[in-house]
Amino acid sequence: MLWETVCSVVGLILVAVGAFCDIAAAIGINRFPNFFVRLHAATVGAIGGAVVPTFGAGLIALGSPELGNYRFFVAGVSFTTGLMIMILGQAGAHALARATLKAKAAPLEPCVHNALREREEVRGE
């Protein structure tokens, strides 16, 4: 009885944190100046906005006894989905950034510091 209540409350807190991260990432992806800065907002949206509420939904399902034995099914699928997003979001964002940088498909206009080009210049000398 007690651990069910604890699971429900912790899951609800995780879902609320996920909603906040989601709003922050959505505002950031609309306000940032170029593609390589928007990668940061998209990754916040993938980890804070998708992995955390998925784990929270799994904990809520574990703590709700009216689902019967199906609650373990819901919790297992939720944790698997969270782990998959945790791996695949970063891999997809990295592949897209590498392809965009190599093909020069996006402008690098407000550029503060470009460590990759500096390293290439040092190596070229």
Binding site: S8, L12, V15, A16, G18, A19, F20, D22, I23, A25, A26, I27, I29, N30, F35, R38, L39, A41, A42, G45, A46, G49, A50, V51, P53, T54, A57, G58, I60, A61, S64, E66, L67, Y70, R71, F73, V74, V77, S78, T80, T81, M84, I85, L88, G89, A91, G92, A93, A95, L96, R98, A99, T100, K102, A103, K104, A105, A106, P107
Partner: protein
């Protein structure tokens, strides 16, 4: 519990609409694919929450399928951009 989850639903709707706005006005292909990526992952989390809220346990499997196939779309466009850079 159900009421508290229902109060959090509009925040997710607003976030999905804002991602769709970036898909609308992103100047390059990479911006649009990145926004679709974030939209798909957030929609996967949203489907999990909805299936807990609706008390329909079978419907949670769609979130796993959505997350895996959105990643596939990312890799397709990255491969297209790199092959164009190589000169076919």
């Amino acid at each position: 519990m159900s009421l508290a989850l229902s109060c959090l639903i509009p925040l997710y709707i607003v976030a999905i609409v804002l991602y769709a706005v970036r898909v609308l006005k992103g100047p390059t292909v990479s911006d649009r694919v990145l926004a679709v990526d974030a939209l798909g992952f957030d929609l996967a989390a949203f489907l999990t929450i909805l299936s807990v809220l609706f008390r329909a346990p079978i419907m949670v499997t769609t979130a796993l399928v959505l997350a895996l196939w959105i990643y596939a779309l990312d890799i397709y466009v990255a491969k297209y951009l790199e092959s164009k850079e190589m000169g076919d």
